[in-house]
């Protein structure tokens, strides 16, 4: 287990404190101007204690990478519009596949797909996006040499070639994830 750096600790503490503000409803009282300073100090102490233990699990790379307005704007745009549209399309397809009377039209298989992403957060974000669209589930991520491969269970296999299947499953998703993470 690597020892955490101070910058990783600091950014984990900031994220913990924001989450604490949201969860306890203090952010509403800050906007109304009736928050007391003692309660906020208690929150800061709690997030310092939490991040002392958990900073080494969260961040292994550059700590302040996401503290960048352009990156956050890109992330919001991706997760609301691009990913939302893919989600709605896949959901409608899957719903009619399940509700159609008669024999089920499924064609399941496991395909192997290459990816160009390198960083941990980018890979996990791409894998989670693929799993969250109905019809595809990421099963494993392996490093083979200098390339990274995803194994994806796909409910309606149309092509089995690596590059064509990758284009069909994660064409636009990977392009946008690469703009956020390296």
């Amino acid at each position: 287990m690597k020892k955490a750096k101070f910058s990783a600790f600091l950014s984990t503490m900031i994220v913990c404190f924001i989450f604490w503000l949201l969860l306890t409803g203090q952010i509403v009282s800050i906007f109304k101007g009736e928050a007391s300073i003692e309660v906020l100090i208690a929150g800061i102490l709690a997030s310092i204690i939490i991040s002392l233990f958990s900073a080494r699990f969260f961040i292994h790379e550059k700590a302040f990478y996401l503290f960048n307005p352009l990156k956050i704007l890109c992330l919001l745009f991706y997760s609301i519009f691009i990913f939302g549209w893919e989600l709605i399309k896949a959901n409608i397809d899957m719903a009619f596949r399940a509700l159609k009377p008669g024999k089920l039209k499924i064609n399941p298989g496991i395909v192997k797909v290459p990816t160009k992403l390198k960083s941990e957060y980018g890979l996990s974000m791409l894998a989670n996006s693929i799993t969250l669209t109905p019809g595809t589930i990421t099963m494993d991520i392996v490093d083979q040499g200098d390339e990274t491969f995803l194994y994806i269970h796909w409910i309606n296999v149309t092509v089995t070639d690596e590059n064509e299947a990758g284009e069909a499953i994660k064409g636009t998703l990977e392009k946008w994830v690469r703009r956020i993470w390296k």
């Binding site: 989450f19 949201l22 969860l23 409803g25 952010i27 509403v28 989600l87 709605i88 959901n91 899957m94 719903a95 009619f96 596949r97 399940a98 509700l99 089920l104 499924i106 064609n107 399941p108 298989g109 496991i110 395909v111 192997k112 894998a127 989670n128 799993t131 969250l132 669209t133 109905p134 019809g135 595809t136 589930i137 990421t138 099963m139 494993d140 392996v142 194994y151 269970h153 409910i155 296999v157 089995t160």
Partner: protein, 114 residues
């Protein structure tokens, strides 16, 4: 406002119904896992967004709206992790569909490694 909330929750109800029917009808384990994400994405998000609109419009209660948003984000983050780990564990445990896969790259590569 009421009509918009009703439409959102109705959409959510439709997708949750589709997920339930898929979970009951699908023939093998992996397809059932696929169908379960239907419940957890649009079936959930409709209720969350409708709830945010309703709690602001009806009660003017922003704490409830923030908590609903946290609930939605939490589900969106954690549900793919449990789905992924259950799929991988089911495969490693030796569960296979009755009709077999169309193509099974994962099994081939696992045999090559051994």
């Amino acid at each position: 406002m009421r009509i918009a909330v009703d439409i959102l929750i109705g959409i959510s109800l439709f997708f949750a119904f589709a997920g339930t029917v898929g979970l009951l009808r699908m023939p093998d384990t992996f397809s059932r896992l696929q169908s379960s994400t239907n419940i957890a994405t649009l079936g959930l998000l409709g209720v969350i967004i409708g709830g945010i609109v309703y709690s602001i419009g009806q009660y003017a209660d922003y704490t409830m709206a923030v908590k609903l948003a946290i609930l939605g984000v939490f589900y969106i983050i954690t549900n793919p992790i449990s789905g992924h780990s259950l799929t991988k564990a089911a495969y490693r445990h030796g569960i296979r569909p009755k009709d077999g896969f169309v193509c099974d790259k994962y099994g081939e590569d696992m045999e090559n490694d051994d």
